[in-house]
Each structure stands twice: as C-alpha cells, then as structure tokens.
C-alpha cells in the first residue's frame, strides 16, 4: 500500500506540469496545479496508511 501511494504521487506532479503546458489562462492553470497537489496529497495519505499498518514491526 505504501508503494501504491508513492506511485500515485508522481501522477500529481505530471498533472501540475501538464497544466503549465496545456492551459495558458492563469485561473485554469492554477486550478489544475492545485488538482495535481491534491492527487499528491492522496498518494501521501495512502503511503502513510500503509506505514501505519506496519506499526510495531521493525525491519529486523
């Protein structure tokens, strides 16, 4: 689950970059950059949940 979350995060980054290239209008561009950040936040939450499930377990 942690890895799934970490894989989702770059999708948010590419959404933010795509917004720069695709939308010249400042409002739309800003909105899509925020959407990219929200996708990243979603990925981070999934990764954190994955970490919490392993609570109390040490690698060794």
């Amino acid at each position: 689950m942690k890895y799934a979350g970490l894989l989702v995060m770059p999708a948010g980054f590419f959404l933010a970059i795509a917004a720069l290239v695709l939308f010249p209008a400042p409002a739309l561009r800003g909105a899509f950059v925020v959407c990219g950040l929200l996708v990243e936040a979603l990925g981070l939450v999934v990764a954190v949940r994955g970490h919490m499930e392993a609570r109390g377990e040490n690698p060794q």
């Binding site: 995060m9 980054f13 933010a16 720069l20 690698p59």
Partner: protein, 436 residues
C-alpha cells in the same frame, strides 16, 4: 590560477567581501543542527550522533565537490552555466547542470560562481544532516555516509540546479509568465524540504526505534537526553541562518545591499514569533512550556524564513513565524502518536513541512502575478517527484548498505556498538523499560 590577477565578477567588491564573511559564518547553522540532533537523541548514542554529523559534513563536501557540483552547474550568465536542456511543447526545460567534474576550471571561474559553490557546499552538508538526525539511535555510520553520498551526488544537485542555477523551476517566469519563477533564496526547498522528505523516507525504510511503537497501546516516550545542547544549538543556528539567508539573497536573487537589513530582521522576527507561539501552545496544552518543542518551533520559524525572509515585509515574516510556531508542536504530536513516524529530531515537521509552508507563504505575500502558482509548482515537484525519488534511491541503497543497526547494537547503544565507548564515561547509563 594567479591570485594576483583579478577575475571578472558581477559582484561589487563590498558585496563580495560581505558575502565571504557571511559564508564563513554559515557553518554555525550546521553546528547548531548537529547539536540539536545530538541532544534530541539518547545519551547512549550521543558520541556516535556527533561523530556521524562530522562524517556527514565531510562526505557531503567531498562527494559534492567531485560529482554533485557538476550536476548543479553554474549560475546563469557564467561560463558553463547552460545545463542540459529538453525541448517540450516549444519551451526549454533545463533539467540538470552541465558543469565540469572534479571542480574543473574553478580557479578561472568568476567570483560569483566561486561564492555560489561555497554556498552549495555548505547547503548540501546541512541538507544531509537533517535525515541523519531523524535516524538517530538506529542508523549506522556507514549508512549515514552512504545516504549523504547519494544526496550530495544526485538529489541535492538536481533541486539546487532547478531552483538556483537556471533550472526549469527558476525559469517558470520566463517560460510561462509565472512571476519571477520559483523563488527560494535561502534554501527552503533545496536544503530543508529535501532534508525533511529524506528524513521521512529514512524513517519509513529504517523503521522505528525498538519499543517505540508497541503493537498495542500508546507509543513509548523517548525524550532527548540533553535539553542544553538542543537550546544552545538553536542559538548557534540563528547566526548560521542569518548567514544563509543573506548570502542566498545576494547570490540567487541579486538583492541589493540596502535590502539585506530587512532580510536579517525578517529572519529574527520569524524565528521569534515561532518560538513564542510554540511556547504558548505547549504551555496551554501541557501546563508548562516544553523545551524540545520550543526548540523545534524556533527552528521551524528559521526554516520558513529561508524561503520568505528576503521577499516579505517584517509583519508578514511575523505571520509566517506565528503559523509555523503554532503548527509545529501539533504536527510533532500527530506524526508520532497518530501516524507512527519515529522521528527523534522532528525533521519532517521542522524542515519538511516548515519549508513547504515558507515556500507557499512566499507565493502568498509576493505581489507579482503568477508567483503563487510558481511556488505551488515547486511544492508539487518536491512532493510528487522528489519524495518518491529519494525513497526509491534509499530503498535500493538499503539493500546494499543496510541502514539499521542489529538488535543487540540498538540495545547497548550506538556509542558502545560502533565506537566502543560512550560519550559520558563517568556516568552510569540507566537501562530503560522500552525493551520489553
């Protein structure tokens, strides 16, 4: 190079002299953070923590000088400052520097490039110290050196190039009319957010200290062993931060001398507001102020000022510090109790989230159109690209150089296990109840 032959530089002589003095003072930030990390760890790992800090600084400087400086590149306008450029959608994306390896041509480089290199050498050492603190009491010296080598050779140069030396983030203003491009004169992104996100990756990969998070019940409190180190480290760090913020303003946004006093005032105001806010929050929550959380609050105010100090007014810096100071104790508590992240130095809250807040606040308070979006794109890059990247790099590295000490080493303490002697040989170190 003949030292008697002057080298052309964009810096005036007085600015050059001031910048050099500031860069000589900047290592005090490294000393401060090293002391804070040591004080927040356990007494049985204190010598290893501080020796590890020296090792981290040494490895960071050597690896960056040999390899990393090439990928960072030189400031725009200087020889060799172009970097590798991708052309996408009719725009140029300068994604990595193309300077010479092994500091080739340094002697004949302009003074500004040489100053920039000193700044970057110190910045990479500070960035690498941050995850070392979060891995306290369980990270081996070999792991600290290996992590630092990866940060100094690749991760730091990439972000430093993007933000400081003409990379694509700094060009957002030219390419997409987003204000002046991504602004980070004091290193909030390149130093602190990188360090904070690396700390998160290491806390995830290395796991928590044994006994910190039992399968059932609350987490075990493992307070720092020396509040005096921690608080003295905060005072040392202030001098170093002033140096970093002022030198960064000169080198990366070409601030005039007249703008520097306000930058210094903003740095002090931000840290002061943050520590006052943390003092009040902890006093209200716990009945008495908490020394280590107040230290974390002070440091978060400094970290947030790294992005904002050169670009905001003093009342705005006060607000930036207040928010940082209120959020820090709450974040430290949430990350430990609710999210089960064992981060003894609070690096994720202080450097990671504090740095992100500083970058966003800079966008909020800078009047230039599009600046806020430019800052958000920078934040999206750090979270969406840099965090997965450093996690992947460290995950692979951990297979090769295991980060974590074995169970016996953790039980006897890192000092005895790795160095054969403790930091405080005259004192009896009491066995605690965390190894059940």
């Amino acid at each position: 190079m003949n030292p008697l032959v002057p080298v052309n530089s964009g810096l005036a002589e007085s600015t050059f002299a001031l910048c050099l003095v500031l860069l000589v003072l900047a290592p005090l930030a490294i000393a401060g953070v090293a002391l804070i990390n040591t004080g927040l760890g356990r007494s049985r790992s204190a010598a290893q923590a501080l020796l590890g800090s020296l090792l981290v600084v040494a490895v960071a400087a050597i690896v960056f000088a040999l390899v990393g400086a090439s990928f960072t590149g030189n400031p725009p306008g200087s020889p060799g400052g172009a970097g590798h450029i991708l052309r996408i959608a009719g725009k140029s994306w300068n994604w990595i520097g193309a300077g010479p390896f092994l500091l080739g041509g340094l002697g004949s480089a302009p003074l500004e490039s040489q100053m920039a290199l000193i700044f970057e050498l110190l910045a990479v050492a500070l960035a690498a110290l941050i995850p070392w603190g979060s891995g306290a009491d369980r990270l081996k010296l070999s792991a600290g050196a290996a992590i630092t080598a990866v940060l100094a050779a690749f991760a730091f140069p990439l972000i430093a190039h993007w933000t400081w030396t003409g990379g694509w983030l700094s060009q957002l203003g030219i390419n997409f009319s987003l204000g002046a491009g991504f602004l980070d004169p004091g290193g909030a992104a390149s130093i602190h957010v990188l360090g904070g996100l690396s700390a998160l990756a290491i806390a995830w990969i290395a796991g928590s200290r044994r006994g910190k998070f039992p399968k059932e019940g609350f987490s075990t409190a493992m307070p720092g062993h020396n509040a005096v180190y921690v608080l003295f480290g905060c005072l040392l760090a202030l001098v170093g931060w002033l140096a970093f913020n002022l030198a960064g303003a000169i080198l990366w946004i070409h601030a005039p001398l007249a703008a520097l006093p306000v930058t210094a005032i903003n740095t002090i105001v931000s840290a002061s507001a943050a520590v006052a806010a943390t003092f009040l929050v902890t006093r209200i929550r716990f009945g008495k102020p908490d020394a280590s959380l107040c230290a974390n609050g002070w440091l978060t105010g400094l970290v947030a000022s790294s992005a904002a100090a050169a670009l905001v007014t003093p009342p705005q810096a006060l607000f930036v510090g207040l928010v940082a100071g209120i959020a820090t104790p709450l974040l430290v508590e949430v990350l430990e109790l609710a999210v089960s992240i064992d981060d003894p130095s609070g690096a994720l809250s202080v450097h990671g989230i504090g740095g992100l807040w500083g970058l966003i606040a800079t966008g909020i308070f800078t009047a230039e159109p599009g600046q806020f979006v430019a800052q958000l794109v920078g934040v999206a890059t750090l979270l969406g690209l840099v965090l997965p990247l450093v996690y992947l790099l460290f995950w692979v590295l951990n297979r090769w150089v295991p980060f974590r000490v074995d169970a016996d080493g953790e039980r006897v303490g890192m000092d005895l296990h790795e160095l054969g002697g403790g930091a405080y040989p005259e004192f009896v170190i009491h066995r605690d109840d965390s190894y059940r």
